[in-house]
Amino acid sequence: MTNVVIAEESKGKLNLERGLNAFREQIDAPVAAFFSSCVHCGLCAEACLFYTETGDPRYTPINKLEPLKRIWEQEYTLWGRAKKALGFAKPVTDELLEQWEPLIYDACSLCGRCSEICPVGNDISGMIRKTREGMVASGHAPEGLVGASFRAVKTGSPMGVKLPALQAQIRHIEADTGMTIPIDVQGADYMALLSSMEIINFPEYIEALAKIFNQAELNWTLCSEAFEATNSGIQIGSSDIAQELVERVVRGAEKLGVKTVISPECGHAYTAIRWEGPNLIGRKYPFKVVHILELLDELKAAGRLKTSSKESMSVTLHDPCQVVRKGGVRAQPRELLKLVNDNLHEMPDAGKMNWCCGGGGGVSANERAEPLRLKVFKRKRDQIESADVEAVVTFCANCRMMLEEGLEHYDMDMPVYSLTEMIADHLEPSVEEPSAVNVEEEDNE
């Protein structure tokens, strides 16, 4: 199914007609209610960092939806159909889609701020996600994302990370720490997912998981057939691709018979597996999905997450949009940070209304968007500057990359840490003992 999409891309079978059909499939009662309600007040522009940092009115969120709006109006309203019949309607053409492609992909990180601000309640961000379905099907998706999706379907990961790469990282970690990283453990309680960004750029995350789970005596495993949580199908807006990637995880989890799947820190991975996944595959999961921070918070509450030291370095917390605003994991990060640091300085708008790093929603995989992304990072830079801290803590590997690149671009020398890794670095020392037996003895004391 999915390979079909990719293969047809190369054969030029992705065309306007397919795109228009994909748009039509996305029109539902909420979309119709949203478009009917827009009063053109312009407030959504003020919510969107792509507008606030550039002043370019084309980046007004509702304007990004012009193609979808035309389809809705001309085909799903009596009045619009009448206007079309009389020749008053502007059609959706390849030229229009070409013109809108940079607005829909380069200038939207699906951060969801606009959907929280719109006074009439339009879920603009959700509609941009829907619009992308028509864009891909009509062959109007950016090359960077098409490439990532192609690699995801072929190799299992958008960055082309294959199992041997993961195994190599695992061997490194095992050699360095003496711990064993469980893989393909049949009947484990938990199956952890990773994002390719973590495997390639931040393998310390895997080590952190192992340390924490060892201490908590969690019965967990990785799965050699489904370790990748990043879902580029969702970012590019292809339900076919997204569904195939979710299916892989579900098959892996079902095969091992795990009770819970752990989403990595990565925000879009979380959205993909936790919220969109069941809808993509058309059925409920036989297991639960938790974000790693939700799990850590549970472990903490159960007294199974024990840290022994705190840092006094001043830090601020960057809230990944998909985890905090759109995912509802909001109190946990702050509670967990308290375990290891008591010098938190919040940025303005922290929490639910945080500002995006600018690289979500596939923007970071789209090279063409890089200059714009770095430009709009100015918002984050200003926020971080106003917090006046020594380091930034976050919980999304993609945000972390974006923060590192952005801070460097603006000549701000500041480290960016992962919250999970920070916690792992401050665990009670005894747990670093390699064998599980020792851990038990410690616990019995």
């Binding site: 009662a29 009917s36 002043g55 009115p57 009439v120 919220w275 909001r330 209304m353």
Partner: protein, 225 residues
């Protein structure tokens, strides 16, 4: 005089009936059109009640988030002023209540005329201010369409003509009143086919936003903050 009397009788009679019919039928069609599209059930495991989240969003979305209030105070404050003063001018003016009572058989107490008069003036001033703002703000100028300006005009005219009629600014009065009613009819006729529909669909939009995003919210958490 005779001409203006005839005119008044026509706008109060057949014209009003036609306008009312288009208004009611149009709204029904629009609402049914939306509802018939339906929506797929969400299969992901909800974190909290979507019904509560829907209701919460319908109510809470009237309160601006603090960040946006700082960024766009004009739109929000004038927007508030406009909606409140329009509501007073329309629903709390005694002669209007009498018309509604005649049509629907329901009534409620109105406000003193002087009060309503002031509200109408404020409503007109805020509408004018919003028009000027629309012309000048880069985003609003960019996203505005002919429909926005048409709706503006058709919303402004009943206020202006009503104000003139109330103050007997011109003679004959029958003509003035007739024009006022005609402007209201124009409003009723375009209502279902323009963004004026937001008066009704805002409830649906907020509800859908609430149920789809609210189910991911932690339980007991307010939408704001």
């Amino acid at each position: 005089m005779n001409n203006s009397m005839d005119f008044l009788l026509w706008v109060k009679g057949p014209a009003f009936e036609i306008a009312l019919f288009i208004f009611v039928a149009g709204i029904l069609i629009r609402v049914i059109e939306i509802l018939l599209l339906g929506r797929k059930a969400d299969l992901s495991e909800a974190r909290s009640s979507d019904v509560r989240a829907g209701i919460r969003t319908v109510l809470n979305r009237s309160i601006p988030e603090s960040g946006i209030l700082k960024k766009a105070p004009f739109v929000i404050i004038v927007g508030y002023l406009w909606h409140i003063c329009w509501f007073i001018s329309f629903f709390l003016f005694v002669p209007h209540i009498e018309v509604i009572n005649y049509l629907l058989g329901i009534s409620w107490p109105g406000l003193p005329n002087q009060f309503v008069d002031t509200a109408a003036v404020i409503a007109m001033i805020s509408l004018l201010a919003m028009l000027i703002y629309r012309f000048n703000h880069p985003v609003l100028r960019f996203i505005s369409t002919r429909e926005d300006y048409l709706v503006w005009l058709v919303t402004f005219l009943p206020l202006l003509s009503g104000y003139f009629a109330f103050h007997h600014t011109f003679e004959p009065y029958a003509m003035l009143l007739g024009l006022h009613i005609l402007s209201v009819e124009l409003f009723l006729v375009i209502f279902p086919f323009t963004k004026l529909m937001h008066v009704i669909t805002v409830l649906m939009a907020r509800w859908y936003n609430g149920v789809s995003l609210g189910r991911k919210e932690p339980e007991n958490q307010e939408v704001q903050s």
